[in-house]
Subunit: 325 residues, 2 copies
Protein backbone atom coordinates (compact mmCIF):
# COMPACT_ATOMS: atom_id res chain seq x y z
CA UNK A 1 0.00 0.00 0.00
CA UNK A 2 1.19 3.51 -0.65
CA UNK A 3 1.39 5.01 2.80
CA UNK A 4 -0.06 8.48 3.11
CA UNK A 5 2.51 11.17 3.52
CA UNK A 6 0.71 12.93 6.34
CA UNK A 7 3.17 14.46 8.76
CA UNK A 8 2.05 14.04 12.35
CA UNK A 9 3.21 17.21 14.02
CA UNK A 10 2.02 19.52 16.73
CA UNK A 11 0.20 22.68 15.69
CA UNK A 12 2.13 25.92 15.88
CA UNK A 13 1.45 28.15 18.87
CA UNK A 14 -0.40 27.36 22.08
CA UNK A 15 -3.20 24.83 22.04
CA UNK A 16 -6.72 25.84 22.93
CA UNK A 17 -7.65 25.03 26.49
CA UNK A 18 -10.63 22.71 26.54
CA UNK A 19 -10.48 22.08 30.29
CA UNK A 20 -13.96 21.96 31.72
CA UNK A 21 -15.48 20.64 28.52
CA UNK A 22 -18.41 18.51 29.62
CA UNK A 23 -20.65 15.98 27.96
CA UNK A 24 -23.81 16.65 30.01
CA UNK A 25 -26.62 19.07 29.14
CA UNK A 26 -24.65 20.38 26.22
CA UNK A 27 -25.63 22.92 23.67
CA UNK A 28 -25.04 21.32 20.31
CA UNK A 29 -25.46 22.56 16.77
CA UNK A 30 -26.16 20.56 13.63
CA UNK A 31 -24.93 22.41 10.55
CA UNK A 32 -26.56 20.91 7.47
CA UNK A 33 -29.95 19.20 7.64
CA UNK A 34 -29.73 16.35 5.16
CA UNK A 35 -30.32 12.70 6.04
CA UNK A 36 -27.21 12.48 8.19
CA UNK A 37 -27.80 15.79 9.98
CA UNK A 38 -31.39 14.81 10.73
CA UNK A 39 -30.34 11.55 12.32
CA UNK A 40 -27.66 13.36 14.36
CA UNK A 41 -30.30 15.80 15.61
CA UNK A 42 -32.20 12.81 16.93
CA UNK A 43 -29.07 11.33 18.54
CA UNK A 44 -28.21 14.52 20.44
CA UNK A 45 -31.73 15.50 21.43
CA UNK A 46 -32.80 12.07 22.68
CA UNK A 47 -29.72 12.09 24.92
CA UNK A 48 -30.98 15.27 26.57
CA UNK A 49 -28.84 17.88 24.81
CA UNK A 50 -30.14 21.09 23.31
CA UNK A 51 -29.82 21.06 19.55
CA UNK A 52 -29.75 24.11 17.29
CA UNK A 53 -30.30 23.01 13.72
CA UNK A 54 -29.11 25.18 10.88
CA UNK A 55 -29.45 24.88 7.15
CA UNK A 56 -29.42 27.40 4.34
CA UNK A 57 -32.78 25.96 3.41
CA UNK A 58 -35.59 26.58 5.89
CA UNK A 59 -37.44 23.64 4.36
CA UNK A 60 -34.57 21.26 5.09
CA UNK A 61 -34.37 22.45 8.69
CA UNK A 62 -38.11 21.98 9.09
CA UNK A 63 -37.81 18.46 7.66
CA UNK A 64 -35.20 17.67 10.28
CA UNK A 65 -37.40 18.91 13.10
CA UNK A 66 -40.30 16.87 11.74
CA UNK A 67 -38.01 13.84 11.58
CA UNK A 68 -37.09 14.16 15.24
CA UNK A 69 -40.74 14.65 16.19
CA UNK A 70 -41.80 11.57 14.25
CA UNK A 71 -39.11 9.39 15.79
CA UNK A 72 -38.92 10.67 19.34
CA UNK A 73 -41.62 13.29 20.10
CA UNK A 74 -40.39 13.95 23.64
CA UNK A 75 -36.97 14.96 22.31
CA UNK A 76 -38.26 17.47 19.78
CA UNK A 77 -38.72 20.17 22.44
CA UNK A 78 -34.95 20.39 22.73
CA UNK A 79 -34.51 21.03 19.01
CA UNK A 80 -34.72 24.56 17.65
CA UNK A 81 -34.43 25.78 14.09
CA UNK A 82 -32.27 28.74 13.26
CA UNK A 83 -31.54 30.18 9.86
CA UNK A 84 -28.75 32.31 11.30
CA UNK A 85 -25.42 30.49 11.42
CA UNK A 86 -23.99 32.92 13.94
CA UNK A 87 -26.87 32.30 16.31
CA UNK A 88 -26.64 28.53 15.84
CA UNK A 89 -22.96 28.56 16.78
CA UNK A 90 -22.97 31.32 19.40
CA UNK A 91 -23.34 29.14 22.45
CA UNK A 92 -22.58 25.71 21.01
CA UNK A 93 -20.29 23.40 22.98
CA UNK A 94 -20.20 20.92 20.13
CA UNK A 95 -20.96 21.30 16.43
CA UNK A 96 -21.71 18.37 14.13
CA UNK A 97 -21.07 19.61 10.62
CA UNK A 98 -23.09 17.64 8.10
CA UNK A 99 -22.84 19.90 5.06
CA UNK A 100 -22.64 18.57 1.47
CA UNK A 101 -19.57 16.47 0.59
CA UNK A 102 -17.75 19.07 -1.49
CA UNK A 103 -14.43 20.51 -0.48
CA UNK A 104 -15.11 24.14 -1.52
CA UNK A 105 -18.32 24.12 0.53
CA UNK A 106 -16.53 22.73 3.59
CA UNK A 107 -13.67 25.22 3.19
CA UNK A 108 -15.94 28.21 3.05
CA UNK A 109 -18.15 26.97 5.86
CA UNK A 110 -15.25 26.24 8.22
CA UNK A 111 -13.63 29.61 7.51
CA UNK A 112 -16.90 31.24 8.50
CA UNK A 113 -17.42 29.04 11.55
CA UNK A 114 -13.88 29.76 12.72
CA UNK A 115 -14.86 33.34 13.45
CA UNK A 116 -18.15 32.48 15.11
CA UNK A 117 -17.54 29.66 17.57
CA UNK A 118 -16.52 29.92 21.20
CA UNK A 119 -12.99 29.20 22.27
CA UNK A 120 -13.79 25.74 23.61
CA UNK A 121 -16.22 24.69 20.90
CA UNK A 122 -15.36 21.44 19.10
CA UNK A 123 -16.43 20.78 15.51
CA UNK A 124 -16.89 17.24 14.23
CA UNK A 125 -17.38 16.70 10.50
CA UNK A 126 -19.70 13.96 9.25
CA UNK A 127 -17.67 13.69 6.05
CA UNK A 128 -17.30 10.12 4.83
CA UNK A 129 -14.27 10.75 2.70
CA UNK A 130 -12.70 14.21 2.91
CA UNK A 131 -9.87 14.38 5.46
CA UNK A 132 -10.43 17.36 7.73
CA UNK A 133 -6.84 18.51 7.22
CA UNK A 134 -7.92 19.63 3.76
CA UNK A 135 -10.38 22.19 5.13
CA UNK A 136 -9.11 23.10 8.62
CA UNK A 137 -5.38 23.84 8.19
CA UNK A 138 -5.61 27.62 8.27
CA UNK A 139 -8.15 27.90 11.08
CA UNK A 140 -7.58 29.30 14.56
CA UNK A 141 -9.77 26.48 15.88
CA UNK A 142 -8.06 23.74 13.93
CA UNK A 143 -6.96 21.77 16.99
CA UNK A 144 -10.65 21.46 17.90
CA UNK A 145 -11.65 20.07 14.52
CA UNK A 146 -11.79 16.42 13.47
CA UNK A 147 -13.83 13.94 11.46
CA UNK A 148 -16.71 12.30 13.34
CA UNK A 149 -17.96 9.96 10.65
CA UNK A 150 -21.12 7.95 11.31
CA UNK A 151 -22.61 5.09 9.39
CA UNK A 152 -25.96 6.26 8.21
CA UNK A 153 -28.24 6.58 10.10
CA UNK A 154 -26.34 7.19 13.37
CA UNK A 155 -29.47 6.99 15.51
CA UNK A 156 -29.65 3.28 14.59
CA UNK A 157 -26.04 2.33 13.83
CA UNK A 158 -23.76 3.09 16.78
CA UNK A 159 -20.36 2.98 15.05
CA UNK A 160 -18.60 6.34 14.66
CA UNK A 161 -15.10 6.91 13.28
CA UNK A 162 -13.02 9.62 14.91
CA UNK A 163 -10.30 10.74 12.51
CA UNK A 164 -7.89 13.41 13.74
CA UNK A 165 -6.08 15.81 11.46
CA UNK A 166 -2.37 16.13 12.25
CA UNK A 167 -3.22 19.16 14.41
CA UNK A 168 -6.28 17.84 16.22
CA UNK A 169 -5.45 18.00 19.92
CA UNK A 170 -5.48 14.86 22.09
CA UNK A 171 -7.93 16.64 24.41
CA UNK A 172 -10.33 17.18 21.54
CA UNK A 173 -10.17 13.51 20.61
CA UNK A 174 -10.74 12.47 24.21
CA UNK A 175 -13.69 14.82 24.70
CA UNK A 176 -15.40 13.66 21.53
CA UNK A 177 -14.83 10.02 22.42
CA UNK A 178 -16.44 10.66 25.82
CA UNK A 179 -19.29 12.53 24.17
CA UNK A 180 -19.97 9.79 21.64
CA UNK A 181 -19.94 7.11 24.34
CA UNK A 182 -22.30 9.17 26.47
CA UNK A 183 -24.66 9.27 23.48
CA UNK A 184 -24.65 5.48 23.23
CA UNK A 185 -22.54 5.51 20.05
CA UNK A 186 -19.51 3.23 19.61
CA UNK A 187 -16.55 5.43 18.64
CA UNK A 188 -13.32 4.07 17.21
CA UNK A 189 -10.28 6.30 16.97
CA UNK A 190 -7.94 6.23 14.00
CA UNK A 191 -4.32 7.14 14.64
CA UNK A 192 -4.17 9.31 11.54
CA UNK A 193 -5.94 10.30 8.34
CA UNK A 194 -6.14 7.60 5.69
CA UNK A 195 -8.18 7.45 2.50
CA UNK A 196 -11.59 5.88 3.13
CA UNK A 197 -10.98 5.84 6.87
CA UNK A 198 -11.64 2.35 8.29
CA UNK A 199 -15.27 1.66 7.46
CA UNK A 200 -15.11 2.44 3.76
CA UNK A 201 -11.79 0.63 3.42
CA UNK A 202 -13.37 -2.53 4.84
CA UNK A 203 -16.40 -2.06 2.63
CA UNK A 204 -14.11 -1.41 -0.35
CA UNK A 205 -12.29 -4.69 0.19
CA UNK A 206 -15.53 -6.66 0.28
CA UNK A 207 -17.08 -4.78 -2.66
CA UNK A 208 -13.93 -5.18 -4.75
CA UNK A 209 -14.09 -8.95 -4.40
CA UNK A 210 -17.86 -8.97 -4.96
CA UNK A 211 -17.51 -7.13 -8.29
CA UNK A 212 -14.53 -9.36 -9.23
CA UNK A 213 -16.52 -12.58 -8.66
CA UNK A 214 -19.41 -11.29 -10.75
CA UNK A 215 -17.12 -9.98 -13.50
CA UNK A 216 -15.38 -13.36 -13.69
CA UNK A 217 -18.71 -15.14 -14.03
CA UNK A 218 -18.31 -17.15 -10.82
CA UNK A 219 -21.74 -16.23 -9.52
CA UNK A 220 -24.53 -13.68 -9.79
CA UNK A 221 -24.86 -10.48 -7.75
CA UNK A 222 -27.80 -12.04 -5.92
CA UNK A 223 -25.59 -14.95 -4.87
CA UNK A 224 -23.04 -12.57 -3.34
CA UNK A 225 -25.85 -10.85 -1.48
CA UNK A 226 -27.06 -14.22 -0.16
CA UNK A 227 -23.52 -15.25 0.81
CA UNK A 228 -23.35 -12.20 3.05
CA UNK A 229 -26.95 -11.74 4.24
CA UNK A 230 -27.62 -15.44 4.89
CA UNK A 231 -24.05 -16.31 5.78
CA UNK A 232 -21.10 -14.16 6.78
CA UNK A 233 -23.18 -11.17 7.85
CA UNK A 234 -25.04 -13.11 10.54
CA UNK A 235 -21.84 -13.50 12.54
CA UNK A 236 -20.56 -10.03 11.64
CA UNK A 237 -23.68 -8.44 13.12
CA UNK A 238 -22.35 -9.14 16.61
CA UNK A 239 -18.70 -10.22 16.20
CA UNK A 240 -16.04 -8.52 14.12
CA UNK A 241 -13.68 -10.39 11.78
CA UNK A 242 -10.92 -10.78 14.38
CA UNK A 243 -13.19 -12.17 17.07
CA UNK A 244 -14.78 -14.45 14.47
CA UNK A 245 -11.47 -16.14 13.60
CA UNK A 246 -10.25 -16.01 17.21
CA UNK A 247 -13.16 -18.27 18.14
CA UNK A 248 -12.68 -20.48 15.09
CA UNK A 249 -9.60 -22.31 16.37
CA UNK A 250 -9.39 -24.19 19.65
CA UNK A 251 -6.56 -22.00 20.96
CA UNK A 252 -7.45 -18.70 19.36
CA UNK A 253 -6.25 -16.46 16.57
CA UNK A 254 -2.57 -17.51 16.48
CA UNK A 255 -3.57 -21.08 15.82
CA UNK A 256 -6.09 -19.95 13.22
CA UNK A 257 -3.44 -17.92 11.40
CA UNK A 258 -0.91 -20.75 11.56
CA UNK A 259 -3.46 -23.11 9.99
CA UNK A 260 -5.11 -20.84 7.46
CA UNK A 261 -2.73 -17.90 6.96
CA UNK A 262 -1.09 -19.49 3.90
CA UNK A 263 -4.50 -20.15 2.32
CA UNK A 264 -5.54 -16.53 2.87
CA UNK A 265 -2.22 -15.26 1.52
CA UNK A 266 -2.84 -17.30 -1.62
CA UNK A 267 -6.28 -15.75 -1.99
CA UNK A 268 -4.89 -12.26 -1.29
CA UNK A 269 -2.49 -12.69 -4.20
CA UNK A 270 -5.37 -13.63 -6.49
CA UNK A 271 -7.30 -10.58 -5.24
CA UNK A 272 -4.47 -8.10 -5.80
CA UNK A 273 -5.65 -6.86 -9.18
CA UNK A 274 -7.48 -3.60 -8.55
CA UNK A 275 -10.21 -3.26 -11.13
CA UNK A 276 -12.35 -0.38 -12.21
CA UNK A 277 -16.03 -1.15 -12.14
CA UNK A 278 -16.47 -0.76 -15.87
CA UNK A 279 -19.68 0.42 -17.56
CA UNK A 280 -20.54 -3.02 -18.97
CA UNK A 281 -20.08 -4.74 -15.62
CA UNK A 282 -22.11 -2.12 -13.79
CA UNK A 283 -24.84 -2.16 -16.45
CA UNK A 284 -25.08 -5.94 -16.15
CA UNK A 285 -25.42 -5.76 -12.38
CA UNK A 286 -27.87 -2.86 -12.60
CA UNK A 287 -30.00 -4.94 -14.96
CA UNK A 288 -30.10 -7.85 -12.52
CA UNK A 289 -30.83 -5.58 -9.55
CA UNK A 290 -33.69 -3.88 -11.44
CA UNK A 291 -35.12 -7.25 -12.46
CA UNK A 292 -35.29 -8.12 -8.75
CA UNK A 293 -36.43 -4.65 -7.69
CA UNK A 294 -37.84 -2.15 -10.21
CA UNK A 295 -36.53 1.41 -9.87
CA UNK A 296 -40.01 2.52 -8.91
CA UNK A 297 -39.78 0.34 -5.78
CA UNK A 298 -36.41 1.67 -4.56
CA UNK A 299 -37.95 4.18 -2.16
CA UNK A 300 -40.26 1.57 -0.68
CA UNK A 301 -37.33 -0.80 -0.28
CA UNK A 302 -35.40 1.89 1.58
CA UNK A 303 -38.27 2.12 4.05
CA UNK A 304 -38.08 -1.65 4.41
CA UNK A 305 -34.34 -1.40 5.06
CA UNK A 306 -34.82 1.20 7.76
CA UNK A 307 -37.56 -0.78 9.46
CA UNK A 308 -35.47 -3.96 9.27
CA UNK A 309 -32.41 -2.19 10.58
CA UNK A 310 -34.32 -0.68 13.47
CA UNK A 311 -35.80 -4.06 14.37
CA UNK A 312 -32.50 -5.93 14.14
CA UNK A 313 -30.70 -3.35 16.30
CA UNK A 314 -33.47 -3.57 18.88
CA UNK A 315 -33.32 -7.37 18.79
CA UNK A 316 -29.54 -7.30 19.14
CA UNK A 317 -29.70 -5.02 22.17
CA UNK A 318 -32.22 -7.32 23.76
CA UNK A 319 -30.04 -10.37 23.03
CA UNK A 320 -27.06 -8.58 24.56
CA UNK A 321 -29.05 -8.14 27.74
CA UNK A 322 -29.98 -11.85 27.79
CA UNK A 323 -26.80 -13.49 26.55
CA UNK A 324 -24.16 -10.88 27.36
CA UNK A 325 -22.21 -8.49 25.18
CA UNK B 1 -6.40 -12.22 -10.83
CA UNK B 2 -4.89 -15.35 -12.22
CA UNK B 3 -7.86 -17.19 -13.62
CA UNK B 4 -8.03 -20.88 -12.78
CA UNK B 5 -7.25 -23.13 -15.69
CA UNK B 6 -10.13 -25.51 -15.09
CA UNK B 7 -11.50 -26.85 -18.34
CA UNK B 8 -15.28 -27.09 -18.31
CA UNK B 9 -16.02 -30.19 -20.29
CA UNK B 10 -18.51 -33.01 -20.27
CA UNK B 11 -17.47 -36.27 -18.62
CA UNK B 12 -16.58 -39.17 -20.89
CA UNK B 13 -19.25 -41.81 -21.42
CA UNK B 14 -22.97 -41.69 -20.58
CA UNK B 15 -24.17 -39.65 -17.63
CA UNK B 16 -25.85 -41.31 -14.72
CA UNK B 17 -29.62 -41.05 -14.87
CA UNK B 18 -30.91 -39.26 -11.79
CA UNK B 19 -34.49 -39.04 -13.03
CA UNK B 20 -36.90 -39.62 -10.19
CA UNK B 21 -34.52 -38.25 -7.58
CA UNK B 22 -36.74 -36.73 -4.92
CA UNK B 23 -36.22 -34.46 -1.97
CA UNK B 24 -38.97 -35.88 0.28
CA UNK B 25 -38.59 -38.59 2.92
CA UNK B 26 -35.07 -39.23 1.82
CA UNK B 27 -32.53 -41.56 3.25
CA UNK B 28 -29.45 -39.53 3.92
CA UNK B 29 -26.04 -40.40 5.28
CA UNK B 30 -23.59 -38.21 7.15
CA UNK B 31 -20.05 -39.47 6.74
CA UNK B 32 -17.85 -37.93 9.42
CA UNK B 33 -19.25 -36.82 12.75
CA UNK B 34 -17.30 -33.69 13.68
CA UNK B 35 -18.87 -30.31 14.39
CA UNK B 36 -20.03 -29.85 10.81
CA UNK B 37 -21.36 -33.39 10.41
CA UNK B 38 -23.29 -33.09 13.67
CA UNK B 39 -24.99 -29.92 12.58
CA UNK B 40 -25.86 -31.47 9.20
CA UNK B 41 -27.41 -34.46 11.01
CA UNK B 42 -29.68 -31.97 12.74
CA UNK B 43 -30.52 -30.18 9.48
CA UNK B 44 -31.57 -33.40 7.68
CA UNK B 45 -33.38 -35.04 10.58
CA UNK B 46 -35.40 -31.99 11.61
CA UNK B 47 -36.62 -31.76 8.01
CA UNK B 48 -38.04 -35.29 8.30
CA UNK B 49 -35.36 -37.29 6.51
CA UNK B 50 -33.80 -40.50 7.81
CA UNK B 51 -30.16 -39.96 8.69
CA UNK B 52 -27.53 -42.68 8.97
CA UNK B 53 -24.49 -41.27 10.72
CA UNK B 54 -21.14 -42.89 10.23
CA UNK B 55 -17.75 -42.24 11.75
CA UNK B 56 -14.69 -44.40 12.28
CA UNK B 57 -15.02 -43.43 15.91
CA UNK B 58 -18.09 -44.77 17.71
CA UNK B 59 -17.65 -42.00 20.30
CA UNK B 60 -17.86 -39.30 17.64
CA UNK B 61 -21.03 -40.83 16.20
CA UNK B 62 -22.57 -41.03 19.65
CA UNK B 63 -21.69 -37.37 20.24
CA UNK B 64 -23.52 -36.47 17.06
CA UNK B 65 -26.63 -38.36 18.11
CA UNK B 66 -26.51 -36.68 21.52
CA UNK B 67 -26.16 -33.32 19.77
CA UNK B 68 -29.30 -33.89 17.71
CA UNK B 69 -31.20 -35.08 20.81
CA UNK B 70 -30.15 -32.02 22.78
CA UNK B 71 -31.15 -29.60 20.03
CA UNK B 72 -34.25 -31.24 18.58
CA UNK B 73 -35.34 -34.30 20.59
CA UNK B 74 -38.22 -35.15 18.25
CA UNK B 75 -35.81 -35.45 15.31
CA UNK B 76 -33.41 -37.84 17.01
CA UNK B 77 -35.62 -40.86 16.30
CA UNK B 78 -34.76 -40.51 12.62
CA UNK B 79 -31.03 -40.64 13.28
CA UNK B 80 -29.24 -43.97 13.49
CA UNK B 81 -25.61 -44.70 14.16
CA UNK B 82 -23.74 -47.17 12.03
CA UNK B 83 -20.08 -48.08 12.22
CA UNK B 84 -20.30 -49.87 8.89
CA UNK B 85 -19.72 -47.55 5.93
CA UNK B 86 -21.31 -50.01 3.50
CA UNK B 87 -24.47 -50.12 5.57
CA UNK B 88 -24.56 -46.34 5.95
CA UNK B 89 -24.37 -45.89 2.18
CA UNK B 90 -26.41 -48.89 1.04
CA UNK B 91 -29.74 -47.16 0.70
CA UNK B 92 -28.71 -43.49 0.85
CA UNK B 93 -30.26 -41.11 -1.65
CA UNK B 94 -27.94 -38.34 -0.54
CA UNK B 95 -24.61 -38.40 1.28
CA UNK B 96 -23.12 -35.39 3.06
CA UNK B 97 -19.41 -36.12 3.41
CA UNK B 98 -17.92 -34.23 6.33
CA UNK B 99 -14.63 -36.06 6.77
CA UNK B 100 -11.39 -34.31 7.85
CA UNK B 101 -10.00 -31.64 5.49
CA UNK B 102 -7.11 -33.66 4.10
CA UNK B 103 -6.85 -34.65 0.48
CA UNK B 104 -5.51 -38.21 1.01
CA UNK B 105 -8.38 -38.94 3.41
CA UNK B 106 -10.96 -37.61 0.93
CA UNK B 107 -9.37 -39.54 -1.95
CA UNK B 108 -9.43 -42.85 -0.12
CA UNK B 109 -12.91 -42.29 1.24
CA UNK B 110 -14.41 -41.38 -2.14
CA UNK B 111 -12.74 -44.33 -3.86
CA UNK B 112 -14.37 -46.59 -1.27
CA UNK B 113 -17.73 -44.86 -1.47
CA UNK B 114 -17.70 -45.12 -5.27
CA UNK B 115 -18.11 -48.87 -4.99
CA UNK B 116 -20.78 -48.78 -2.30
CA UNK B 117 -23.36 -46.18 -3.30
CA UNK B 118 -26.45 -46.68 -5.42
CA UNK B 119 -26.53 -45.50 -9.01
CA UNK B 120 -28.57 -42.40 -8.23
CA UNK B 121 -26.90 -41.46 -4.99
CA UNK B 122 -25.46 -37.95 -4.84
CA UNK B 123 -22.49 -37.06 -2.64
CA UNK B 124 -21.97 -33.52 -1.38
CA UNK B 125 -18.70 -32.66 0.31
CA UNK B 126 -18.62 -30.19 3.22
CA UNK B 127 -15.03 -29.22 2.33
CA UNK B 128 -14.33 -25.53 2.80
CA UNK B 129 -11.35 -25.42 0.52
CA UNK B 130 -10.54 -28.58 -1.45
CA UNK B 131 -12.09 -28.57 -4.92
CA UNK B 132 -13.93 -31.84 -5.45
CA UNK B 133 -12.23 -32.32 -8.83
CA UNK B 134 -9.09 -33.21 -6.87
CA UNK B 135 -10.69 -36.28 -5.30
CA UNK B 136 -13.47 -37.36 -7.68
CA UNK B 137 -11.89 -37.41 -11.14
CA UNK B 138 -11.44 -41.17 -11.43
CA UNK B 139 -14.77 -42.18 -9.94
CA UNK B 140 -17.67 -43.85 -11.73
CA UNK B 141 -20.01 -41.62 -9.73
CA UNK B 142 -18.10 -38.41 -10.40
CA UNK B 143 -20.95 -36.65 -12.15
CA UNK B 144 -22.95 -37.05 -8.93
CA UNK B 145 -20.26 -35.47 -6.74
CA UNK B 146 -19.90 -31.79 -5.84
CA UNK B 147 -18.98 -29.47 -2.99
CA UNK B 148 -21.85 -28.54 -0.68
CA UNK B 149 -20.04 -26.15 1.63
CA UNK B 150 -21.92 -24.78 4.64
CA UNK B 151 -21.00 -21.99 7.00
CA UNK B 152 -20.67 -23.55 10.36
CA UNK B 153 -23.08 -24.42 11.89
CA UNK B 154 -25.51 -25.09 9.02
CA UNK B 155 -28.47 -25.66 11.32
CA UNK B 156 -28.23 -21.95 12.23
CA UNK B 157 -26.61 -20.35 9.18
CA UNK B 158 -28.60 -21.06 6.01
CA UNK B 159 -26.00 -20.20 3.36
CA UNK B 160 -24.60 -23.18 1.42
CA UNK B 161 -22.18 -22.99 -1.52
CA UNK B 162 -22.68 -25.49 -4.33
CA UNK B 163 -19.46 -25.88 -6.28
CA UNK B 164 -19.50 -28.24 -9.24
CA UNK B 165 -16.44 -30.05 -10.52
CA UNK B 166 -16.06 -29.84 -14.31
CA UNK B 167 -17.86 -33.19 -14.55
CA UNK B 168 -20.67 -32.60 -12.06
CA UNK B 169 -23.90 -33.04 -14.03
CA UNK B 170 -26.44 -30.22 -14.28
CA UNK B 171 -29.06 -32.64 -12.92
CA UNK B 172 -26.97 -33.23 -9.84
CA UNK B 173 -26.63 -29.50 -9.25
CA UNK B 174 -30.33 -28.98 -9.71
CA UNK B 175 -31.30 -31.82 -7.37
CA UNK B 176 -29.00 -30.61 -4.62
CA UNK B 177 -30.23 -27.05 -5.01
CA UNK B 178 -33.81 -28.32 -4.62
CA UNK B 179 -32.80 -30.43 -1.65
CA UNK B 180 -31.04 -27.57 0.13
CA UNK B 181 -33.99 -25.25 -0.43
CA UNK B 182 -36.38 -27.89 0.89
CA UNK B 183 -34.23 -28.04 4.05
CA UNK B 184 -34.57 -24.28 4.54
CA UNK B 185 -30.97 -23.61 3.54
CA UNK B 186 -30.03 -20.83 1.11
CA UNK B 187 -27.91 -22.39 -1.65
CA UNK B 188 -25.81 -20.38 -4.09
CA UNK B 189 -24.35 -22.04 -7.14
CA UNK B 190 -20.88 -21.25 -8.41
CA UNK B 191 -20.29 -21.62 -12.14
CA UNK B 192 -16.96 -23.37 -11.57
CA UNK B 193 -14.30 -24.25 -9.03
CA UNK B 194 -12.29 -21.34 -7.70
CA UNK B 195 -9.89 -21.14 -4.76
CA UNK B 196 -11.73 -20.26 -1.54
CA UNK B 197 -15.10 -20.55 -3.29
CA UNK B 198 -17.18 -17.40 -2.68
CA UNK B 199 -17.57 -17.21 1.09
CA UNK B 200 -13.91 -17.52 1.98
CA UNK B 201 -12.91 -15.16 -0.81
CA UNK B 202 -15.22 -12.50 0.60
CA UNK B 203 -13.94 -13.18 4.10
CA UNK B 204 -10.37 -13.09 2.79
CA UNK B 205 -10.86 -9.64 1.29
CA UNK B 206 -12.21 -8.25 4.56
CA UNK B 207 -9.59 -9.98 6.70
CA UNK B 208 -6.76 -8.85 4.43
CA UNK B 209 -7.76 -5.21 4.91
CA UNK B 210 -8.33 -5.73 8.65
CA UNK B 211 -4.79 -7.07 9.14
CA UNK B 212 -3.40 -4.32 6.89
CA UNK B 213 -5.02 -1.54 8.95
CA UNK B 214 -3.68 -3.02 12.19
CA UNK B 215 -0.22 -3.61 10.73
CA UNK B 216 -0.08 0.01 9.54
CA UNK B 217 -1.02 1.25 12.99
CA UNK B 218 -4.24 2.90 11.85
CA UNK B 219 -6.33 1.30 14.58
CA UNK B 220 -6.47 -1.61 17.01
CA UNK B 221 -7.97 -5.04 16.30
CA UNK B 222 -10.81 -4.22 18.69
CA UNK B 223 -11.63 -1.12 16.61
CA UNK B 224 -11.95 -3.23 13.46
CA UNK B 225 -14.25 -5.59 15.32
CA UNK B 226 -16.38 -2.66 16.45
CA UNK B 227 -16.43 -1.18 12.93
CA UNK B 228 -18.01 -4.41 11.72
CA UNK B 229 -20.11 -5.59 14.69
CA UNK B 230 -21.50 -2.13 15.55
CA UNK B 231 -21.44 -0.82 12.01
CA UNK B 232 -21.18 -2.57 8.66
CA UNK B 233 -22.33 -5.96 9.95
CA UNK B 234 -25.71 -4.67 11.08
CA UNK B 235 -26.71 -4.00 7.50
CA UNK B 236 -24.94 -7.08 6.15
CA UNK B 237 -26.98 -9.33 8.45
CA UNK B 238 -30.00 -8.84 6.20
CA UNK B 239 -28.72 -7.15 3.00
CA UNK B 240 -25.71 -8.14 0.96
CA UNK B 241 -23.13 -5.64 -0.33
CA UNK B 242 -24.84 -5.12 -3.70
CA UNK B 243 -28.26 -4.44 -2.22
CA UNK B 244 -26.63 -2.16 0.34
CA UNK B 245 -25.13 0.12 -2.29
CA UNK B 246 -28.15 -0.22 -4.59
CA UNK B 247 -30.25 1.41 -1.87
CA UNK B 248 -27.59 4.03 -1.12
CA UNK B 249 -28.19 6.16 -4.21
CA UNK B 250 -31.52 7.63 -5.22
CA UNK B 251 -31.57 5.81 -8.54
CA UNK B 252 -29.79 2.62 -7.58
CA UNK B 253 -26.46 0.95 -8.11
CA UNK B 254 -25.49 2.58 -11.43
CA UNK B 255 -25.72 5.99 -9.88
CA UNK B 256 -23.82 4.79 -6.82
CA UNK B 257 -21.00 3.43 -8.99
CA UNK B 258 -20.88 6.60 -11.09
CA UNK B 259 -20.51 8.68 -7.93
CA UNK B 260 -18.24 6.48 -5.85
CA UNK B 261 -16.61 4.03 -8.28
CA UNK B 262 -13.50 6.23 -8.68
CA UNK B 263 -13.12 6.51 -4.90
CA UNK B 264 -13.35 2.72 -4.52
CA UNK B 265 -10.90 2.18 -7.39
CA UNK B 266 -8.46 4.44 -5.57
CA UNK B 267 -8.86 2.42 -2.40
CA UNK B 268 -8.55 -0.86 -4.34
CA UNK B 269 -5.17 0.29 -5.66
CA UNK B 270 -4.00 1.01 -2.11
CA UNK B 271 -5.24 -2.43 -1.04
CA UNK B 272 -3.51 -4.33 -3.83
CA UNK B 273 -0.46 -5.34 -1.82
CA UNK B 274 -1.05 -8.90 -0.67
CA UNK B 275 0.63 -9.36 2.67
CA UNK B 276 1.50 -12.42 4.68
CA UNK B 277 0.24 -12.27 8.22
CA UNK B 278 3.70 -12.27 9.76
CA UNK B 279 4.55 -13.76 13.17
CA UNK B 280 5.07 -10.36 14.83
CA UNK B 281 1.78 -8.98 13.55
CA UNK B 282 -0.12 -12.09 14.60
CA UNK B 283 1.58 -12.18 18.01
CA UNK B 284 0.62 -8.54 18.59
CA UNK B 285 -3.00 -9.22 17.71
CA UNK B 286 -3.03 -12.43 19.75
CA UNK B 287 -1.77 -10.46 22.74
CA UNK B 288 -4.57 -7.91 22.42
CA UNK B 289 -7.21 -10.60 21.91
CA UNK B 290 -6.00 -12.50 25.00
CA UNK B 291 -5.98 -9.31 27.06
CA UNK B 292 -9.67 -8.92 26.16
CA UNK B 293 -10.45 -12.63 26.49
CA UNK B 294 -8.10 -15.02 28.32
CA UNK B 295 -7.44 -18.32 26.58
CA UNK B 296 -9.21 -20.10 29.42
CA UNK B 297 -12.44 -18.30 28.48
CA UNK B 298 -12.39 -19.19 24.77
CA UNK B 299 -14.69 -22.19 25.17
CA UNK B 300 -17.19 -20.19 27.21
CA UNK B 301 -17.08 -17.42 24.60
CA UNK B 302 -17.84 -19.98 21.88
CA UNK B 303 -20.97 -20.97 23.78
CA UNK B 304 -21.87 -17.28 23.95
CA UNK B 305 -21.34 -16.98 20.18
CA UNK B 306 -23.62 -19.95 19.48
CA UNK B 307 -26.34 -18.64 21.77
CA UNK B 308 -26.06 -15.17 20.24
CA UNK B 309 -26.12 -16.57 16.72
CA UNK B 310 -29.16 -18.70 17.45
CA UNK B 311 -30.99 -15.73 18.97
CA UNK B 312 -30.10 -13.35 16.15
CA UNK B 313 -31.19 -15.84 13.47
CA UNK B 314 -34.47 -16.39 15.30
CA UNK B 315 -34.97 -12.62 15.64
CA UNK B 316 -34.18 -12.11 11.97
CA UNK B 317 -36.71 -14.73 10.90
CA UNK B 318 -39.31 -13.07 13.05
CA UNK B 319 -38.48 -9.64 11.60
CA UNK B 320 -38.78 -11.08 8.09
CA UNK B 321 -42.28 -12.22 8.93
CA UNK B 322 -43.19 -8.75 10.22
CA UNK B 323 -41.38 -6.48 7.80
CA UNK B 324 -40.96 -8.70 4.75
CA UNK B 325 -37.95 -10.50 3.31
Amino acid sequence: MRRLAVAVRQPPGPRTDTTGWKVKDMRTAIIGCGTVGSSWALVFSRAGHDVAIYDKSALAAEDTLRYVKANQPEAAGRVSITLDLEKALASADYVQESAPERLPIKRELYATMDGLIGEKTIIGSSTSGIPSSSFTEKLACRDRCLVVHPINPPHLIPLVELVPAPWTSPDTLRHVKDLMESLGQQPITLSREINGFVVNRLQSALLGEAFRLVEDGICLPGDIDKAVADGLGLRWSFMGPFETIDLNAANGISEYCANLGPMYFGLAKEQADPREWGPELVAGIEKKMRAALPASDLAKRRDWRDRFLEAIVKAKNSIRRDVGA
